[in-house]
Structures are given as structure tokens and as C-alpha cells.
């Protein structure tokens, strides 16, 4: 491996990420999967970094899930997206920041389409006007939320309480970075570091003291694949893809996985449980799985936020081994307590997956 070669590519794929004043849109499914991640993002930007970041109450789905599941045509999707842009325009923002990778990919696709086919843009403007009476401006910048954390990675590092370092050995933690397919595979130039060797998460890992693991199936999809998961009969295909990744990364003995997509952490996390239950196979140390995090969670951990405030208790693959390795203080007693201190109940103990 020649790092210089990667740096050369990273240098080729740099995008302009705005410094401040973001119009933030949430993901549909993250609310359910890892609900604390988006909250953490806002907390970091507003409280740690003092940025102006605005959310609109009337924001809806971008309809990407429908689009990628072949149930909504692109023109409809475009009009829905145009409405989000109208909300941004009405709120006086120009920098559009989204939480969801699929949304990001879809926005990139739509913006690129409009650039090459202005007549489509005009039609969408007419359609939106006719349907809602709204008008919109095309965002000046489109950023994925991970782009913003990437941009702020050194500032975060400067405030870090913990580093991605194994406190027992002093060695950097070995981190697998998994990029959502829709981040840059379609438009390499829209992602930090391009499509083949994306740097957006690798940059965070490096800044926070970790070591990135490059393994053969790095580029492979997490297995979500929309239709492949949505239909129960197809789930064997979904989990097979996840398994392929784990089989490929396991020899590298990674400590953790960091992701920047709503679906990926969910599937990399849950499918480890399913593989363990079906085949009795686990991929981490001591019979545990490999803990999977969103970049917001990792940022929160680095900044010293309480793991339970980061929502790490909803992870199916136990996160405690990595918390211990990093030396993150946590109270096991409080793991399943709600915000108001009420006991939320303890999940059932699985047969094979090892949990705390």
C-alpha cells in the first residue's frame, strides 16, 4: 500500500463544504435506527462549534426510498425535493445539509440532471408552483452531514476527551470505515476523496487518533439494498452481502466500524446478530461482534458525551468492549434507563451473540 498514492487521489477529490449556516434535513429511517445520532450532530454543531444550523418543521421525506424501490418516478421525486429546496429558500439559507446518504445521492443526481437539462428544472419549477405555490432556488452548496463533521474534524479533535486509541496498548484503534453507496459511487466528485478511496470518514478516523483498515471488500454494499431487505424472502441475499464484508474484514481484526449512512450501521449491526444466531459465527474479539457506529456517535464519544446519551444502548452488537478500550466512562446501570430515569426494560438475551 502506498499512502502517497491515496493522498494523490484524495487531493483530486476535494469539495467545497460551507463553514456555517446550514439548512439541515433529517433522514426518515435514522429516526428509528439510531435516533440519537442526528441529535448529537446538532449538539456538536450548535453547542460545541457554535454553528448556525436550521431545521424546518415542514420538511418531509425526499422520497428516495420510494424512488430506489421503484415505486415513485423521478419526476415526482424531483418535485418533492424542489419543495425541500423551497423551504430552504424561504428560510433564507443556501447551504443544504442532509443527514441521509440516499437523500444526498438523490439530491446530487437531481442537481446534476437540472444542470444538464435546464428544461427539466423549469418543468419542476412549474410543477412545484402549480402544486404548492412555492418557488425555490437551487442550493449553493450541498453537503452531507458527514462532510461537515469531516470539515470540523480537527476542531473536534482539539476538544476531544478521548482518542481512538487502545488505552491498554497505546496503539491506534483499527477502524473500518464504511461509506454509504449513494455518497459518492454515483458522483465521485461530490464526495470527499472520491468513490474508490473516500476520505470523508478516513479523515475523521485519522484526526481522532485511529487507524483506517483497508480490506478487500471495503467497497462492497452493506447489504441493505432497499428491495433486498424490504421483501422478507430476499433478506437472505441482503445478509449474504453483509457476511461477505465481515468475512473479508475479519482477518484484519478491526476494533470498530464507522459509517456515514442511515442503513449501513443498522445492517452491519443487526446482521451480525442474525449471522451469529443462524451460523454461530461472530467476527470480533472474545466472541463479541465488531461494534458499528455512526460518525456522529464516534464524534460524540471522542468529545466525551455519555454513551447512553448517544443512544449506544440501541445497538445490537455490544459496544462496551470498545468503550472499555477507549476508556470511555459509562455506567452500565443506566444503560436501559430512559431520559426521565424510567426503566425501559432489558432486551432478551440472544442465544449466540455475546452481550453485556
Amino acid at each position: 500500500m502506498k499512502l502517497a498514492g491515496k493522498k494523490r487521489i484524495w487531493a483530486d477529490y476535494q469539495k467545497e463544504i460551507p463553514q456555517d449556516n446550514y439548512f439541515y434535513v433529517r433522514s426518515c429511517i435514522r429516526q428509528n435506527f439510531f435516533p440519537a445520532s442526528e441529535v448529537t450532530f446538532l449538539r456538536i454543531l450548535r453547542q460545541e462549534l457554535g454553528k448556525d444550523i436550521y431545521e424546518h418543521i415542514h420538511h418531509t421525506t425526499c422520497s428516495g426510498i420510494g424512488y430506489h424501490s421503484d415505486v415513485i418516478p423521478l419526476e415526482t421525486t424531483m418535485t418533492v425535493v424542489a419543495r425541500q429546496f423551497a423551504l430552504m429558500t424561504e428560510a433564507g439559507y443556501e447551504n443544504y445539509a442532509c443527514s441521509c446518504i440516499t437523500s444526498f445521492g438523490l439530491y446530487s443526481e437531481i442537481l446534476e440532471t437540472w444542470k444538464h437539462f435546464p428544461e427539466v428544472l423549469e418543468k419542476v419549477r412549474r410543477d412545484l408552483k402549480a402544486a404548492t405555490g412555492r418557488e425555490f432556488e437551487v442550493p449553493k452548496h450541498l453537503a452531507h452531514a458527514s462532510d461537515i463533521i469531516y470539515k470540523m474534524r480537527h476542531e473536534i479533535a482539539s476538544r476531544a476527551r478521548y482518542k481512538l486509541v487502545n488505552r491498554y496498548t497505546g496503539q491506534p484503534l483499527r477502524v473500518v470505515e464504511h461509506i454509504g453507496c449513494h455518497y459518492s459511487k454515483m458522483f465521485p466528485s461530490k464526495g470527499v476523496g472520491g468513490a474508490e478511496y473516500p476520505y470523508v470518514l478516513a479523515g475523521m478516523v485519522e484526526a481522532w487518533g485511529g487507524e483506517v483498515v483497508d480490506y478487500p471488500e471495503r467497497r462492497h454494499c452493506c447489504g441493505f439494498g432497499f428491495r433486498q431487505y424490504l421483501v422478507q424472502a430476499n433478506r437472505g441475499y441482503s445478509v449474504a452481502n453483509t457476511q461477505k464484508k465481515f468475512e473479508s474484514m475479519a482477518p484484519f481484526k478491526p476494533d470498530m466500524i464507522i459509517t456515514n449512512c442511515p442503513g449501513c450501521p443498522y445492517f452491519l449491526d443487526r446482521w451480525q446478530y442474525v449471522i451469529a444466531e443462524m451460523e454461530g459465527k461472530t467476527y470480533g474479539e472474545n466472541g463479541f461482534g465488531i461494534p458499528v457506529f455512526t460518525y456522529e456517535e464516534v464524534a460524540g464519544l471522542v468529545l466525551g458525551y455519555d454513551p447512553w446519551d448517544l443512544g449506544l444502548q440501541v445497538h445490537q452488537t455490544a459496544v462496551e468492549p470498545i468503550l472499555d478500550k477507549m476508556g470511555v466512562a459509562y455506567n452500565p446501570e443506566k444503560k436501559y434507563l430512559g431520559k426521565d430515569g424510567q426503566n425501559l426494560g432489558h432486551p432478551e438475551t440472544p442465544a449466540y451473540s455475546k452481550v453485556y
Binding site: K2, A4, K6, R8, E196, Y215, R218, R219
Partner: protein
């Protein structure tokens, strides 16, 4: 050297096309000068080890061409920066400020190999054991071991055809013509040097068009034991041992295929030489979308640029094999001769 009344020809580019054209023009009695950007003549061919189909040594072939250049003036390490037409003559200003006048020009700017970095997914420049066909020629030429200090046991090598050719993604729709035969040649060579090695060629189509090439292909299969897999490489990655895991579809099996190899050779295609565009602008030579020069009539006037007195030779008009390049260079010299005779 020039005698009075002797007409002058300048050849831009001293690769094998330029060398052959210059030698022919000098033989016809013209005062001929080669302007070569690099420090030596021979162009890309001088970088090769041996040449298909019969395995002649590239160095010897270039040397044979060079031996015919004694009456030719060779300016190396320089390039034409400016060209002005004055009374039927061209006045060329070179990089060092010197000026040449000439009655005709043969443009033989040739090709450069595709920059394999641009196929990022193949990991050239990132993974240690990914090399290009040009690199392999260099290694063979210098008798470098292909698998230095690696683990024992049989080694595996994969040759990837069409890297930078027939690929809209890098803007090269055309076939580079010589790489299929070159891959088969190199694959056979690797088997000859390392009989235990497993050698694979990943091809899209095998374009073995010459009467000798199919025999090369057959020998590679039947005698050397080279394996052929129809499918284009999708991506390469490194495993824990630093070997390369490559993925492709075996299209004849309709199944994805992966294998771990010790060396990945990217058969880089031909692109117009880096200075070709400026020469084209200077001399008003029409250029195709792919950057290669367009002759006035690709069938019957394949060496005519459309600009009076400017003739095209070799791979500046598109990928060619060596014999085609030599034939083309001679044709360009003949066309220039016809022009100069008519002019006088």
C-alpha cells in the same frame, strides 16, 4: 549538410514513425531534420523489451531504424513552439528559440500510454503489486525479478486488457489495437520465466487480427498454459499479505469471479501524445474527439493533414502496431515527396 536547392523537411517526433519517415525522406534526397522532445529517439518502442509476434528485441529494432538516420539531423530535447507559413515555407521556432525553415513537415507525435492512475479502482500507484504493461516491459528489459522477496510457491499474475481503451468512463471509446497481442506476449513471457506461475488474461474481446497473432494466442493457451477469462476487472484491493484481490465477472460463466494474485498488470492503451494538441493547433491539423489527428481522407489520404505541406505519420492518427506504423511512415514520406515535387 544542406546543398543549395535541396528541399527541407522537418519531422516532428522521433519515435519509430518519425525515424522511418525521416530515413525515407533523406534517402529521397531531402534535407531532413527530426525534432524530438525527449533526450533520445525511439519513442515508446525504445522502452519495450521484446516485440510481438516473433519476440524481436525492441532495442535492436530501434537500433536498426537508427542506423538509417545518418544523413538526418536530429534535434533532441526540444520541441516546436511556433510555426509560421511564409511563401510556401514554414518557419519553426523551437523551445530554445532557434529557428528552422522547412518546405514540408511530417508530424509523427505518436502516443503516450494511458495514465493508469485514472482507473482508480484498479489501484495503480496505491497497491504495490499493480503495474502497467509499460512497467512490465521495463522490468523485463532490466531483468528485474517479477516477484521480489515474496512468499514461496507458485505465483499468480493477472493481465487486464483494455485499461484506458474501449472505456467511455475515461473518455476513450476506441480500441488501442496493440494491447491484446502485447498482453498475450507478456503473459507467455511470464510463463516462460516462471513456469509454475498461474497466468490469467482478463479480456473483453481478444482482438488478434494479424495472421500471426492467432498463433500467439493458441500457443499461449496450449503451450504456455495461459488462462483466459472473458470479463473486465471491476476492482482490486489488497489483502492482509499485500496480495491483490481482484474481482470480475466471468461473462462466459455468467458468474462473478474473484481471485488473489501476486501481480496485476494493466494493459494500458494508447492516447495521443501530450504535445499533440498544441502541434495540431499550430499547424491547423483537425483533431478528433479522442484527440487523435484526422486525415483529410482516412482511406485514401491517411497521411494528409489538410494543411499544405503537413503530413501525418504513425500513431498520431490513431493506435497502430509497429509494422503498421512503419508502413504509415513510409506512406507519409511518399506523400511529402509528391507534394515537394509538385511544388518545385
Amino acid at each position: 549538410m544542406a546543398t543549395d536547392g535541396q528541399k527541407k523537411v522537418v519531422v516532428i517526433g522521433g519515435g519509430i514513425a518519425g525515424m522511418e519517415a525521416a530515413a525515407q525522406l533523406a534517402r529521397m534526397g531531402y534535407d531532413t531534420t527530426i525534432v524530438e522532445k525527449q533526450a533520445r529517439t525511439g519513442g515508446n518502442v525504445a522502452n519495450w523489451d521484446h516485440l510481438f509476434p516473433e519476440g524481436r528485441l525492441a532495442g535492436e529494432v530501434v537500433q536498426q531504424l537508427y542506423q538509417k538516420l545518418s544523413p538526418v539531423r536530429i534535434i533532441t530535447g526540444s520541441s516546436v513552439k511556433k510555426a509560421d507559413m511564409l511563401e510556401g515555407q514554414y518557419i519553426l521556432t523551437l523551445a530554445d528559440g532557434s529557428v528552422l525553415t522547412t518546405d514540408a513537415l511530417v508530424v509523427s507525435t505518436g502516443f503516450r500510454t494511458f495514465d493508469a492512475h485514472r482507473k482508480e479502482e484498479y489501484g495503480y500507484g496505491i497497491y504495490d503489486r499493480v503495474i502497467t504493461s509499460a512497467d512490465l516491459e521495463g522490468m523485463l528489459n532490466e531483468h528485474q525479478p517479477l516477484f521480489p522477496g515474496r512468499h514461496k510457491g507458485p505465483r499468480r499474475v493477472a493481465f487486464i486488457h483494455c485499461v484506458g481503451s474501449r472505456d467511455e468512463k475515461v473518455g476513450n471509446r476506441y480500441c488501442s489495437k496493440a494491447c491484446c497481442a502485447m498482453a498475450v506476449k507478456q503473459a507467455s513471457k511470464v510463463k516462460e520465466l516462471y513456469p509454475d506461475a498461474e497466468v490469467y488474461c482478463f479480456y473483453m474481446d481478444l482482438r488478434m487480427f494479424d495472421r500471426r497473432y492467432e498463433q500467439m494466442y493458441l500457443d499461449a493457451q496450449a503451450k504456455s498454459g495461459v488462462n483466459f477469462i472473458r470479463g473486465r476487472l471491476s476492482e482490486a484491493s489488497e489483502d492482509l499479505q499485500g496480495r491483490l484481490v481482484i474481482k470480475a465477472e466471468d461473462t462466459l460463466m455468467s458468474k462473478p469471479l474473484k481471485m488473489t494474485v501476486d501481480m496485476l498488470v494493466l494493459m494500458v492503451g494508447m492516447e495521443p501524445a501530450s504535445g499533440a494538441r498544441s502541434v495540431a493547433e499550430m499547424l491547423k491539423i483537425p483533431v478528433g474527439h479522442d484527440g487523435f489527428f484526422n486525415a483529410t481522407n482516412e482511406l485514401l489520404e491517411a497521411n494528409c493533414s489538410g494543411t499544405p505541406g503537413v503530413f501525418l505519420a504513425g500513431t498520431c492518427t490513431g493506435p497502430k502496431t509497429i509494422p503498421e506504423t512503419i508502413a504509415d511512415a513510409r506512406a507519409a514520406a511518399t506523400a511529402a515527396d509528391a507534394y515537394l515535387r509538385k511544388k518545385s
